[in-house]
Each structure stands twice: as C-alpha cells, then as structure tokens.
C-alpha cells in the first residue's frame, strides 16, 4: 500500500479514485439493469437445459410398462478400463431397455453415500454398485436393504460382513489373476533366482491386495527362489507407475522383472525400462488386456498379461440385475475368468479398452 507523500499527491490520488468509483458504479448500474439480469438468468436456464439434454431423459421414479430404472454407481470415470466398462454398461442397458442412471463416485465414499440417498429418494428398482471404498459401505448398503432395493456389487469386492446386504457380487477374481501372472513369471524364470519389482494399485484396496497376494502365493508355491525385492503403490496411474519403476531400476541394478497390477501401469513401467536402456533385461508383466498393451505384447516388447474383459465386466452386472428383477435366482458370486495372454495368443484377443 502506498502512502501519499504530500497533500497534493494525496489529493490527486483521491481524485483518481473518486473518478474510478464513479466510472465503475456506472458500469455496475448498467449491468444491474433488470433486463440484463433477465437475459443472464435465461442464458443460465437455457445452458442448463441444453446440458441436461445430453444426459438421459428422466422418466421420473415411475416405471412405464415393465421398464426398470437402475442406478449405476461407478467408483470413478477417469480410467480407460472403467470407461470401456461404462460404455458396455450403457449398451447393455439400452439392449435390455433399462433406464440406467450413471453416477460418478469420484473415488470418494462420501460422494457415493450422497448418491445412494438420492437413488433411494428417486425410487430406483436396483443399484449396480462399484464401491469406492469397501470399508465405508455398510451404512449405504443397510439403507438400500431397508428400502428393499436389490444391489449387485462389482469392481471392488465388498467385505465378508457386508455380503448379506447385497443380492449378488460380480467378481473378476483378482487373486486368481495375480496367481496366473505369478505362475507365468516362474515359467519365464526357468529356475533362476529372479528379482521382481511390483507396482501396486491403490494401496489397501481389495484389488491391489489380492493381486499382490495371489502373485506372491504363486511365487512361494512354484518358484521360491524368485523374490519380490521392491513394491510400490502407483494408484493404477501410468505417470506414477513410470516414476515408481524409475526408482526401482535405480535401486536394483539386477532387476529381472516388473509386475504391475494393471496394464496401464505396466506401460508406464515399460517406458521407464526402455528409457533406462534395460528393455532386454527386465521383463514386464501386467493385468487386464488393454489394447495398447496387447499390441506391445504381440510385438514381444512385454511378456504377459491376463485378459479381464471390460465388456464382460460391464455387461455381467446388468445381466445379473435383469435376472434379479425378473425374479430368477442368482448365485451370490458371479465370476468370470481372465485367461492368460502371452505373445502367442495376443493377436487373437479383442481390443476392448
């Protein structure tokens, strides 16, 4: 803040400010005219309606002629796999003539709690639930149970104690996937004492925990000489995986393989290995069957993955929910398997994400 040096200066400053006040309040007056305000409000309303038109047309809570309204509660939408899942979700909803309301949980349990409340007041017929955090779903599921809304969980597996609250769980069997890759690492090691770095998903999450446990179980069972020497979480994020891999390569000059909990991160790890000039010595393993990764696999630049079809993952919950709503009996766990993919069969796998 400037302090005026003399009265003249101060007076000049004051005059300047006074002029400014007058000018801006004129401007303000112009804007404050009711007409402009009306135009502004109309513009806001129009833009809202226009944007809203992009979403699904609401048919309100009531159903028309056997048409069901289903809340699809996604964990997050900022991941290529989940986007592919959402697409197939949407397609299946259209096929079965379901009115599916898509909700983005933004990876946050609190957001999902709000969405559950909203869905209950909307009176939906069923919920497909991809929990953001399985530790914080009990109150939500209890409410849904009390409102007698069937829930099919998928993506992240709900805890043992919450199982009675849901109708069915669609599961990709993360443990089995980790085991399959661990088994493949053993085969590729040919009995050598490989050192493996592991890049994990969201740490503490069910998927990451199970993919790590399954992998390590395969190692101890089939090739105890192969050891996991470094393990770092990278939240299923490619950029984080890249820097995690760089750190590992720096710390372990004799690293033989990097196993990532998904292909997206595996590509990040591969970039790091390539940049370090150690592509020939460090084998890359992933999980998922991402198109970009499958291409690398077909070219022999990475070693293996398992194919967890996002299309199946998107359609199975909707199919399961359809069965439930039709009154058919469904198993508590609906599994679909993820086959191993290596260079040999990489070309035959559909590019779904």
């Amino acid at each position: 803040m400037t302090i005026p040096h003399s009265y003249q200066q101060e007076a000049r400053e004051e005059q300047r400010l006074e002029k400014k006040v007058r000018a801006t309040s004129n401007r303000a007056k112009r804007i404050k005219r009711p007409l402009s305000l009306l135009v502004l409000m109309t513009a806001a309303a129009v833009s809202l309606t226009a944007c809203g038109g992009g979403g699904e047309k609401s048919s309100s809570g009531a159903k028309k002629g056997g048409e069901f309204t289903i809340g699809v509660m996604m964990n997050t939408a900022d991941n290529p796999y989940i986007q592919s899942m959402i697409k197939s979700n949407r397609a299946e909803c259209a096929k079965l003539k379901f009115n599916c309301i898509e909700l983005d949980g933004q990876g946050d349990a609190a957001t999902q709690a709000n969405q559950v409340d909203t869905m209950i007041s909307r009176g939906v017929d069923g919920i497909l639930f991809f929990p953001a955090d399985v530790n914080a779903v009990t109150p939500m599921l209890t409410k849904l149970k009390a409102a007698e809304i069937p829930v099919v969980s998928y993506g992240n597996r709900v805890l043992e104690g919450d199982l009675p609250l849901i109708t069915a769980a669609v599961d990709e069997n993360s443990h089995q996937q980790g085991f399959t890759i661990g088994d493949q690492v053993c085969k590729d090691a040919h009995g050598a004492a490989w050192k493996v770095g592991m890049i994990g998903g969201v740490s503490g999450g069910y998927t990451a925990t199970q993919r790590a446990a399954g992998f390590e179980e395969a190692l101890t069972k089939n090739c105890p000489s192969v050891k996991v020497v470094a393990s770092q979480p990278a939240d299923f994020d490619r950029a984080k995986a890249l820097s995690a891999a760089e750190d590992m390569l720096q710390a372990h000059a004799d690293l033989n393989a990097i196993y990532s909990h998904d292909d997206n991160m595996a590509i990040g790890a591969r970039d790091a290995v390539k940049a370090a000039g150690r592509a020939s010595r460090v084998s890359i393993y992933g999980i998922g069957g991402m198109g970009e990764y499958l291409d690398l696999l077909a070219q022999g630049k990475v070693r293996a993955t398992v194919f967890q079809s996002p299309v199946k993952f998107g359609t199975t919950p909707v199919e399961t929910m359809a069965k439930i709503l039709r009154g058919e009996k469904v198993e508590k766990f609906v599994f679909f398997d993820s086959p191993l993919v290596t260079k040999e069969n990489a070309a035959t796998i559909p590019r779904e994400w």
């Binding site: 803040m1 005026p4 009265y7 101060e10 004051e14 400010l17 006074e18 400014k20 006040v21 801006t24 401007r27 303000a28 007056k29 804007i31 404050k32 005219r33 009711p34 305000l37 409000m41 513009a43 806001a44 309303a45 833009s47 809202l48 944007c51 809203g52 992009g54 979403g55 699904e56 047309k57 609401s58 309100s60 809570g61 009531a62 939408a77 309301i101 898509e102 909700l103 983005d104 933004q106 990876g107 946050d108 349990a109 609190a110 709690a113 709000n114 969405q115 409340d117 909203t118 209950i120 007041s121 909307r122 955090d133 399985v134 530790n135 914080a136 009990t138 109150p139 740490s203 503490g204």
Partner: protein, 332 residues
C-alpha cells in the same frame, strides 16, 4: 423499484439461480420435492455447511484455507478411533484435532507471514501425509451404534446435523454482523494495514480464523465418519475447492472484507441442489462437471464486472482514513 429488486437479486444471487434450478428439477423429476429428497438435500448440505460457514468467515477476514480437506480426513480417523469412548468425545477430539491444525496454519500465515494460499497448500499436503501414515493408508470402520447415530439421528423430521448447522449459521451471522469481533474481522479483510493502524491485534485474529476453519473441518470430519461408518483415506480430496466454490458462488468475495453468512448458505444450497438434482434427473457424469464449471464461471464473471466499484470505494475510504491519520489537523 425494479432497479432495486435487480440490485437485491444480484446481492443475493443464489435466490434467482435457485429458483431457476428448482423450477427445472421440479419440472423434470416428480420426486424432487418429496420429503425424503429434501431431507437428504439438507443433510448433505449441512455436512459441507459447517466448513462453508467457517470458510465464509475466513474469507470475509481476508484469509482462506485450502487444507480443510486434509484436516477433514485426518480428524475423521481421530473420530473413529475415539468412537468407543462416546460420540461426544469423538466429536470433540476430531474438532480439537482440526483446531490444532488450524493453529499451525494460523502461525504460518500471521507470524511467519507466508501467503495463505501457499501456506495452506503446503499444510494440505503435509496433513494428508500425516493422515496417510496415521491410518496406514487403509480405511478404518467402526460399528459403534452411538457414534453412528451422530449423523443419522433425527429431531422430528429434521436430521440433527441440519439443526446443528442451522444454529451455527445463526450464531455466525450474529457474530459477523452484531459484534465488535465480527466487525473487526471484516475490517481486517477489507484492509489489514488500516486495521493495524487502528490498533487491531492482527495476529490474534488471523490465527483465530484458521482455528475456526480447522475446527469446522474437524467437526465435519467426525460427522462424515459417522455417516459412512468409517474413515477413508481418500476423503476430502476436493472438499476445499467445493467449499470455496460454494461460498464464492453465493457472493462472498475472494479478496476479503465482502460477504455475508446468508450469501454463503445460499451458495451452498445452490451447489447442493445442483448436485443432488442432477443425480436425480440422471445427468451424465461428464456433463455434471461441465455444468458446475459453467455456472461458477458465469457467476464470478458477472461478479468481476460489477465488483470493482466496491474495491475502489474501500481503497478510497482507506486513503481518506490514512490522510486523516497522517494529518489530523488538516482542514478538509
């Protein structure tokens, strides 16, 4: 007459926006006005609301706090850990944790003279780090029924958090408009130098503002944990921005000194109506964020076009007051 109405409509801009929103959602969903939905809406708003009140007071006092999301997450873990000692102990523990973090922010800003943006950005990361190591990066759940009732208890048709929020809002409004403390906060927000020259103990007030935002976040953290039955390490990653956006939307200035509690509450209700309404109608998640952005941009743009006169007025008043101080005997 019409001019005056327009003026008021601008000052309380949430009201016309809210009318448009409610009309739209009413038109497109017949459950929008169900008692259940309105109760939900109020409950959800009140969880953010305590933080919004504190943030509004801080903004009026010329400060703002980016670290509330991290404080929220940390204190929700504290609340869960204290849950079995009774809900009030948990609530107090979480609030105290938040207040403590607030002291840290306050000292950084007022004594170490770090810019509030930088200081709270830094503590946002630091406190989140503390939370991650404290929690071991995994969620912690509780099934203590007393604690779970904290957020789900009802008084008549109203959820208790809504009542608490209402009471706090009234108190905040009265303090800000009717007490010397409130006026002093406003004057600091208008001009720190002016307030200092008038003998206000700036440091004390500034620290208190951060303690307030911290305690608000801590309080909300306990409510959040009670609502989810767990504390999650991912909680509150965008809370600070949502809360600041709500308060700004209502008409509280980012530049300090300007704003009322009713504006903050208005902004909050608009944002919550928008969020709940769009979920209810089934707006695609991609459009949701675009719409948030559009509305916020529209509001702050209009604000920027109209607001400068107020700043010029404040500066003028400041210059005059300084002039009087420097030359009390001068003839005007």
């Amino acid at each position: 007459m019409i001019g005056r109405i327009a003026n008021q409509a601008f000052r309380h801009r949430s009201v016309p926006i809210l009318i448009v929103l409610v009309a739209y959602f009413w038109f497109s969903s017949d459950v929008f006005f169900s008692q259940r939905n309105i109760t939900n809406l109020m409950l959800q708003a009140s969880l953010l609301g305590v933080m919004a009140l504190a943030m509004a007071v801080a903004l009026v006092g010329g400060q703002f706090d980016l670290s509330i999301g991290s404080i929220l997450a940390l204190s929700s873990f504290v609340a869960v850990d204290l849950a079995d000692r009774g809900p009030l102990v948990a609530l107090a523990g979480a609030t105290a944790t938040g207040a403590l973090c607030g002291v840290l922010n306050g000292v950084l800003v007022s004594i170490a003279r770090v810019n509030a943006f930088i200081a709270t950005l830094a503590t946002m990361f630091a406190i989140r780090g503390v939370m991650l190591s404290y929690s071991g990066e995994t969620a912690r759940s509780t099934s203590d029924l007393q604690f779970l009732r904290l957020a789900s208890a009802k008084w008549g048709p109203l959820p208790v958090p809504v009542l608490v929020f209402g009471v706090l809002a009234v108190i905040a409004h009265l303090v800000l408009t009717r007490t010397q403390v409130g006026l002093t906060i406003r004057s600091i927000g208008g001009s720190v130098d002016f307030a200092r020259l008038n003998g206000v103990r700036i440091v004390r007030y500034q620290i208190s503002l951060f303690v307030l935002t911290g305690a608000g976040a801590g309080f909300s953290g306990a409510l959040l944990a009670s609502r989810l039955g767990a504390a999650t390490p991912t909680a509150g990653t965008d809370t600070a921005l949502v809360v600041i956006a709500a308060v700004i939307l209502g008409g509280v200035s980012l530049y300090g000194g300007v704003g009322t509690i009713s504006q903050a509450v208005g902004g909050l209700v608009v944002l919550q109506t928008l969020s709940t309404g769009m979920d209810l109608v089934g707006v695609s998640p991609y459009y949701k964020t675009i719409i948030y952005g559009c509305i916020l941009i529209a509001v702050v743009t209009v604000d920027a076009l109209v607001r400068p006169d107020q700043f010029a007025k404040i500066k003028l008043a400041r210059a005059r007051a300084l002039g009087r101080q420097l030359a009390p005997a001068r003839q005007r």
